[in-house]
Every structure is written in structure tokens, then in C-alpha cells.
Symmetry: C2
Subunit: 342 residues, 2 copies
Amino acid sequence: MAATMKDIAKETGLGLATISSYFNGGNVREKNRVKIEAAIEKLHYEVNEVARGLKTNETHTIGVVIPELNNIFSAEIIMGMEDVLRQHGYATIICDCRTDPAIERDAMEFLVRKRVDGLINMPVDISGRNLQRFQKTGKPIVLIDRKVRGIKCDTILVDNEDAAFRAVSLLLRNGHKNIGFLGGPRDVYTSQERLKGYARAHKAAGVPVQEALICHGDYTIRGGARGTEELLDRNVHMTALFASNYDMTVGAVIGLNERNIKIPEEISLVGFDNPTFAKACHPRLTIAVQPTEEIGQQAARIMLQRLSGSEKTDFPACISLKTEMAEGRSVRDITAVNTENP
Amino acid sequence: MAATMKDIAKETGLGLATISSYFNGGNVREKNRVKIEAAIEKLHYEVNEVARGLKTNETHTIGVVIPELNNIFSAEIIMGMEDVLRQHGYATIICDCRTDPAIERDAMEFLVRKRVDGLINMPVDISGRNLQRFQKTGKPIVLIDRKVRGIKCDTILVDNEDAAFRAVSLLLRNGHKNIGFLGGPRDVYTSQERLKGYARAHKAAGVPVQEALICHGDYTIRGGARGTEELLDRNVHMTALFASNYDMTVGAVIGLNERNIKIPEEISLVGFDNPTFAKACHPRLTIAVQPTEEIGQQAARIMLQRLSGSEKTDFPACISLKTEMAEGRSVRDITAVNTENP
DNA sequence: ATGAAAGCGCTAACAA
DNA sequence: TTGTTAGCGCTTTCAT
């Protein structure tokens, strides 16, 4: 069995409270401090956080429920989160619910039993039922990437609409008027937002949106490759492509390569996420970059604030993080070409 | 405050032990069972695993320490692991130590304080010092992906040497004699193993290994692209390329595309990991696939066995999982060509 | 089958 | 500053 505070007390001849005080930053006589530290060393004592948790009703553990872990987007968010939390003495229990609302519900119940101090969730069940259950505990919830109506809590979003707006505006500024849109599933929030941005950019530039240029894929590499080919087949005049997530960006590059279409000479491309991939491409891809680690860090910080209770504003915060445009060389300026052929 | 068993006891008029018995599969009179369940419903009772953990000295929590979470390899392992563990009522606390032995040590200490029931580790500190610390708790350790000498515990490895052997043999069988090797860092275990497999395949086929065909990269996309170009420049007669991890495979595809080199007409390519990427490529890539989720699942299962104590063999198991060759169309058979030009 | 009571390792209130 | 003590919510003998 592991050593307990009692053992330290016995070893040093001191009382329990003194030992506890030592660990909780209380004042302990220098002489005793040395004794205690010697005993800790000798007995390999490590505080039992379970006992502490029972007593204080604080487990210093945050539950995290996400749809899927096997994509860099989720993984990097988790990294940023876990990093901040552990630095503050908090553990994170991560539950990958495989995009299944039922598993998500189980995961949340599980976390309630584990008495986590708070929940960070990238929600699958948009109805909010799962979250309502957790909210009964009175413990803080921070939502990531998606809103859930009916749930009042802090939320970290990415301004997807703006990301798409800027990406497409960049293409428009460079003279492109037939811009293909490789979108995600119709019913996914981020996908809808990005399509809105695509449309708004067109409106702002006074360029009409053409249905034939919009392709709803599935956010996968393969879907991106196929979508690219479909768009090429349907639109002879297409001069540019906007891929609205990472996997579809990879797919677009593959699809264009396969057809032997030069970027940006024949088709200009703006992608999404993953700067590493963008840099590896030739020419380097222009992409919209989501601040993945920052999303995680922010979520963690807000959670920490709620837990410390030192929060002034009592109403939920809704933070919208901006994406960055990382410019490469995959967009060709065709304004000159346009004026030549009016 | 959340409801406790005491509340249930009060509500039902039963004793504490009866309630506890109900939750632990003991026999409870039908009449009382109904009463208890009604009370649970009414009070929204959820077992407090913290209290239970203190009493039973079992937290039903497994600590997981890995170097990095932001690559599909790690992420999928974690998915497989977490899946199995949670299905058995175990939580996983994941610590990403950013490939830093010092952070790894902190993480392990942290997990000791959290009183996790076991540790699953993809080790960074190969010296074993970090693990020795944890091992003092007497709790089980399962190692993943790498051995650590001096630590006696269960280990799940992938037969990397065999994976490379088979990949390179495939190329040799197809008549290739100048096969470039895009390797990882010299000091990484998996990288060394894969190089061994490359060499053994050559020996088995009676083809000499040429130093100029071996490139030590850094397991990144960019490294793969650069390595590919280096190898092309150094070796005019190179007809094939073996990329020894996923990122370098992406890099190789990009590098070859950039030079406008056709796969497999000009260069045959065998890659590593990520079937999704392989399928998205044209032509579909032939790759060695590591059973990532299975690694995680196996690790979890072995851990579960150790914890249940029903393990017959008391000595550590060392399981070596085989990779799969997923054949695409990226390898050209040039045996005929060779006989034409002897 | 059920109840009473002790105690897991810690914190915190109170006393000294 | 330090010691004593009660009790967090549960499991687990031991009676009944």
C-alpha cells in the first residue's frame, strides 16, 4: 500500500493537520518542514487526490466529450486544452463518442459519476438533451465549435462564415468569377456557415452565385477528390476552387493532380486548415487556418475561470475566434486576363 | 449537492447496506428494488465514484501517456484504447507530454496522485527512469510501440521490421533494384526497425543496398517531399520509393507530383499508414498499414486482464502485431523491362 | 435479505 | 504553529 499522511505523521511525530497544512501552503516551522520532506522522500509519499476529492468535493478533473478523435482538428484542440488544464493541476478525461448521440449521453453520465468538476463538449446531440442532464449537476459547461440552443453556457466558436468570406473574397479580388465550392454535409453547422460566407463574398463583390459551382461533399479526402472532378466536369469556365475543410483540400489537390491540372495556372485553389500540408504542396497552398490549439486553450481557460468563481460576468461568454489566411502561391491573379477578354 | 446513498436510504426507509448491495449486484427483495429505483429516479442519484474509489482503492481510471496527440497514428490508438476501456467502466486520463521526458515524468507523478489503476505508455524516456517511478506503485504498466529495457511489463509492438521487409520485397519482386528509402530519424526505434527490414529484403533478394538510396528524414510531410527530391537528384536509376511513415508518404506524393513524375510509370511508390489517403490517390497507393486501433484495443485488453488478476501467465506478454499490405496500383512490374535490357 | 457501524485518506473547524 | 476530531460517500464485515 501507498504511504498516507498518517504514515508521515507517525514518521515525523507530528499531527495530521500539520502535514495537511504543509501540503496546502500553510505555515510550518522550518524544522518540521525538513522532517516532513525527509519522511515524504523516505516513504515515497504522494498525495491521494481521490481522498482529497471526496473531502473537498472537487476532483480537479474535467470531462471532455468529442465526436471523433481521429482528425487533426479535434486532436489539436484536445492538445491545447489538456496542456492548459494539466498545468493548472487538472486532469482531463476524454470521451470519443464516435459521433453517436447515445454514446455521448453515456459518456456524460459516466463523467457525472466520476464527479468531474466541469464539462467541455463539442456537441453531437444538438437537441441539448444530453447537456441538460449534465447541467443538473450545476457544474460548468463549455461548448466548442457548435452552439446548442436551449443551453446557457460559455461557448467557443470559430467564425466559419468569416473564414469562408475572406477565402472567397481573396479569389474574387484576383478576378475569379467562377469559383467552385467544395462544401461539407448540408446539415452540419460549420458547413452551413462556410457556405454563407461563400455567398456573402459573392454578394459583396456583385458576382452571382451559380448553383452548379456548389458541391456538397462529406468532409473526406475521397469526397474532395470526387467533388473536384464533378465540379470540373460541370463547369468548363471554373477558374478557382475553395475547399472548405482539410480533408477536402487534400482531395482537391489529388483530384487536380490526377487531371494534370496546374495550380494556379489553370485552377486557383484556396484550402482549409493544416499549414503543414499547405507548406508541403507546390506551389504552397493559400489556406484558411483555424486556431485549433487556441480553441482548446480558450476553452480550458474559460473553464478554469468558472471553476475559480472569480468570474465577474455571470452570463455566458460566447467567444468567436477568427481564422487566419495563410497566403501561399496557389491563387493566380487573372484580373489582367479578364480585361483583355471583356 | 448531489444525492447520496444516505438520501436513498432515507427516502426508501431502507438501510445503507441494502442500497449498496443493490448497486453491487447483490440480492434485494423485488419490493425494495422498485422502491430504490423510484428514489434514484426522483433524486437523480448517480453513484459517486470518488467515494467508491477511496473505499475500494480502485479508481477505475487508466492513465495514458503519449508523446504527441496530433497525428492520426496516436489518435487512432487512443480511440481504440478508450473505446474498450470505457466499455468496461474505465476512464482514461490522457497526457500528451509533447515528446519531452520531463513533462512525461510530471505526467506520471500526476497520475500516481490521481491513483490511476494502471498506466499505458508510449514511452519518450527510453532510459526507463520515469517508468520505474510509476512501477513502485505496484500497478500494471502496458507499453506501446517501443520497448524500454529494464522495465518488466506487457508490451504491444508492431512488427516494423517485417512491415518494411514486405513492402520492399514487393518492390523487389516487381523487378526494382534501385529502391529509395525515405526513413525517419536515426535514433528512433521504429525508424531503425524499418531500415533493418529494408536491408533484410535486399539481402533476401540478393540485391545490394546502396547508401545513396537511403535518406534519413524527420517523419514530416515536408521532410518526405524534400527527401524525395534529394533521392531523385542523387539516383538517376531509381525506379521505386518506399516511404516509411504516413507523413513522408504524403510528402513523397507531393514531391513526385511537383517534378511531374508519373506513379507508377516512372517511379513506383510504396507508402505507410492511412488507407484513406492511399485510396484518395490516383493511382491508389500500395501501402503498409499498421493496425492502429487494434494496438489500442490490445493494450486496453491486456491492461484489463492484469487488473482482473485472472491472468494465468505471470510473466509479461510481448505482443507483436503484424502490419497489412494494402495493394493499390502504385507499383509497376518491371521484370519484363529488365530482361529486355540485360 | 437487511441493518448497524467501522473506516478508506484526506480537509477543516476548533482548541490548545 | 500544531494537535484533535468529525465527516466527505461509499463498501464491507458482522449481526440480526
